[in-house]
């Protein structure tokens, strides 16, 4: 899965660093274990000497080595995590109106669907439509249980917790459809609770917002009409 937003580059890099760090530990420990198990077998004689590595100095050396390893991993993690948290500015191909600050969209998790509230009273369910090359800030909230919004190609995952606001920032660099999946167990229809982001040109985005607004208005008018005609109790 190729990254399509500045923050995900950094996550990918740190993922590799983490993999290398884990691999070093696994290879070192298992290599030493196999070497140790190939040693002398069951000869009865005087008891073997105490292990040479039992002295205090060896313990300090090994502990220091491990601490150094942990420290390097820590520093790299902080560097790349901070980079991944940087809010990128909207690019030249992005939505003109959003140059100064990110395009803010409210994402509401509910069992088992995401609702997106765009600026200008438009909203959509299931599918999020955003303009390309534009910094988008999602405000994650939930109306029922904890959900996790996750589209790996665009951003790191974040939880939508009832009563709290969480944020996801991304800037998609290419038009297309990006998919993800809600990632916190949320009840019966958790498995099919998916996330879909449609990245389009700024013009298409504006058209989409207008279309949603008119359709929502039409639907509301129809409901009001039905009520006035007395067809709905």
């Amino acid at each position: 899965m190729a990254p399509h937003s500045p923050g995900t580059d950094q996550i990918d890099t740190l993922l590799w660093i983490g993999f290398v760090a884990a691999a070093i530990l696994v290879v070192a420990i298992n290599g030493a274990l196999i070497y140790a198990l190939r040693g002398r077998r069951g000869r009865r004689g005087p008891e073997p000497r105490e292990a040479s590595g039992s002295g205090r100095r060896t313990q300090l050396r090994v502990g220091g080595l491990l601490a150094g390893f942990a420290f390097v991993v820590f520093v790299l993690s902080v560097i790349y995590t901070d980079k991944a948290r940087e809010v990128p500015g909207t690019g030249p191909a992005g939505l003109a109106a959003a140059h100064s600050k990110p395009l803010q969209i409210k994402a509401t998790g509910q069992q088992w669907l995401w609702r997106y509230d765009y600026p200008n009273q438009a909203f959509s369910y299931y599918k999020l439509v955003v303009p390309v090359d534009t910094t988008v800030e999602l405000e994650l909230v939930s109306t029922d249980v904890i959900h996790t919004w996750d589209v790996p190609q665009l951003a790191g995952k974040r939880d939508a917790v009832p009563g709290k606001v969480n944020h996801v920032v991304f800037r998609a660099d290419e038009q297309g459809v990006y998919r993800g999946q809600s990632a916190t167990f949320s009840g019966q229809a958790y498995a099919p609770m998916r996330v879909e982001v449609d990245v389009v040109s700024p013009r298409a985005y504006k058209a989409f917002i207008e279309k949603q607004k008119t359709e929502i208005q039409e639907a509301q008018d129809r409901v009001v009409g039905l009520i006035e005609e007395g067809k709905v109790p």
Binding site: V26, I29, L37, G39, R41, P48, S77, V161, Y190
Partner: protein, 563 residues
């Protein structure tokens, strides 16, 4: 009874002890730490079997994409039952049962300090199991392994499943705390003469560390469970959003317990391995003090890393870095323990018997699981891998390595002491290699599915076209292989109970005092309390006996030479 009534009443009772009650009544009412420990271990192994069945059902459902073998509700029930069974009714009680059986013997105590408290602990644990599985026949919990609020609130799961879950895990946790209280008191007050803390064996040190850990984390879980029950049954608002409640409160409290329990399982396993390795390498444990100190550090630092599970929650970047620092700091104590275990093996004279084989397998699996956990704790990485099956694989490598491989190593090692018989060696080898291959087949594909394709955890199905079909099929096959291996050892334990070769009091040539007692020990453990003079009292006793025997054999030869 009838026989006795037919006979005339005896005037003088001189023929031995009064008649004992039936065996099961003796065991069920006994407050002896050995009986309680044996029941804990037996029940834990029984629940291992049940957890396996539940796991296999879930893996069958996930064998192929969009499978409809289990309904979503049935899957979620299996998931919730599996989590509770594996953690509360298998892994923790197995560790505690072994501690409770072995630690008093190792420190030369004739019993525990508060036997009735420990016995009550066992009963509460069994009562918890009864509640969980009587709930099974009605409506088990559907709230997942850790029933995160507010999903576990009445508004979202209105049947009694979550109440049954909360009551059962609460009873079990209270039971563990009581057993821990007894262990702490015993280890503090009832050590044999000369058994200073610096001479207490590693496994008994671990018993003390884990008991204190349980005294710290158990009440947190009990409080959380009580609050959940109040929320659900008495209109409480502890975990409800708005009006003063906070859903994240449950996350914090439950993760403190689960993370601490994770550490407890690993500490118990590593401590058991630290008993096994020196005996089967015929040399003292390298860096004994460092190992003990490291196990203590793991308990403290490991539990403090609980927010590692909440790196995607709205908790502030400072807390995330705090959790990461704690998780990364764990490299030092875990690394030191493993270093000393391996350096004890290297250059020793190894007897590759079942306990050492399982111990080596446990070290291997634990190292893989912990390395993957290390990667998961790096904050930005967690934003990618959190709640993917990659995390499942990491947890299962570490906990199957610790709880099952480490637990089986301890079982093979102490089985002669528990029962007076040894477990079959050939079957043990078959079991080990099947389990070892099964574990890799089962969990490595999950690393790939989670890392490359972001497959999420806890989901009752996955979709075709997401690129994880092959991984999941292999994982299902691997889980079956792992299960067969586990069943071989369980069968071995059952068969050896009556059919195993009789064991001597000192089956392996151990250095700690449990090998000074009979196998199984008499109710009072020790006829004579040894005077402990070193870290290896049993070795001192063996040498003293050998010395005395050599002298007594040498003496007649001087006066009466053999022709």
């Amino acid at each position: 009874m009838r026989e006795r009534s037919r006979r005339a009443p005896a005037e003088v009772v001189a023929d031995g002890y009064p008649r004992r009650r039936p065996r099961w009544i003796e065991i069920a009412t006994s407050a002896d730490h050995k009986d309680v420990g044996r029941v804990l271990v037996t029940a834990a192994l029984g629940f291992l079997f049940i957890a396996l069945v539940e796991l296999l059902l879930m893996r069958l459902q996930l064998a192929v994409p969009e499978n409809s073998l289990l309904t979503p509700v049935a899957f979620n029930r299996m998931l919730s039952l599996y989590g509770a069974t594996a953690i509360f009714f298998f892994a923790i009680p197995l560790a505690l049962g072994l501690f409770y059986y072995v630690a008093p013997l190792q420190i030369g105590a004739r019993g525990t300090a508060l036997p009735r408290v420990g016995q009550l602990g066992l009963w509460l644990y069994l009562a918890g199991a009864l509640v969980l599985y009587s709930g099974f026949f009605f409506t088990p919990s559907e709230a997942g392994v850790n029933p995160l609020a507010p999903l576990s609130e009445l508004a979202f799961l209105p049947n009694n499943g979550v109440d049954a879950w909360a009551a059962s895990t609460g009873l079990a946790t209270l039971g563990f705390v009581l057993v821990a209280i007894d262990l702490v008191a015993t280890l503090r007050r009832l050590r044999a003469p000369g058994m200073a803390w610096r001479r207490v064996p590693v496994f008994s040190w671990a018993a003390a560390i884990c008991s204190w850990l349980l005294l710290a984390i158990g009440p947190v879980m009990l409080a959380a469970i009580t609050m959940l029950l109040i929320d659900r049954n008495f209109d409480g608002i502890f975990f409800a959003d708005g009006s003063g409640g906070a859903p994240l409160l449950w996350s914090h409290m439950s993760w403190i317990f689960f993370t601490g329990a994770y550490m407890l399982i690993l500490i118990a396993a590593l401590a058991a391995i630290a008993e096994i390795v020196p005996v089967f390498a015929r040399r003292p444990l390298a860096g004994r003090g460092t190992v003990i100190g490291s196990l203590g550090a793991i308990a403290v630092i490991g539990t403090l890393s609980w927010m590692q599970n909440m790196l995607t929650a709205p908790i502030g970047i400072g807390w995330m870095y705090f959790a990461m620092i704690m998780s990364l700091a764990l490299v030092v104590p875990f690394g030191l323990v493993i270093f000393n275990l391996i350096s004890t093996m290297a250059g020793g004279e190894l007897r590759m018997r079942a306990p050492l084989l399982f111990a080596a397998g446990a070290i291997s699996l634990i190292s893989i699981g912990l390395a993957a956990e290390l990667e998961q704790s790096m904050v930005a990485v967690a934003w990618r891998l959190h709640n993917t099956v990659d995390a499942t694989a990491a947890t299962h490598f570490a906990l199957v390595g610790g709880g099952v491989f480490g637990g089986f190593a301890a079982l093979y090692y102490w089985y002669p002491k528990l029962t007076g018989r040894t477990m079959g060696e050939t079957l043990a080898r078959f079991s080990f290699w099947t389990m070892f291959a099964g574990a890799f087949l089962a969990f490595v594909p999950l690393f790939l599915a989670g890392d490359d394709h972001g497959q999420v955890v806890d989901a009752y199905k996955f979709f075709s076209g997401t690129g994880v079909s092959a991984e999941n099929l292999i994982a299902t096959i691997g889980t079956f292989v792992l299960a067969i291996g586990i069943l071989l050892t369980l069968a071995n334990a059952i068969a050896s109970r009556t059919g195993g070769a009789r064991a001597g009091h000192d089956q392996w040539g151990g250095d700690s005092l449990e090998w000074f007692t009979l196998s199984p020990p008499e109710p009072h453990n020790f006829d004579v309390l040894p005077d402990v003079r070193s870290e290896r009292p049993m070795r001192d006793i063996r040498e003293a006996i050998a010395h005395a025997t050599a002298r007594s054999e040498a003496a007649p030869r001087e006066t009466q030479p053999v022709a």
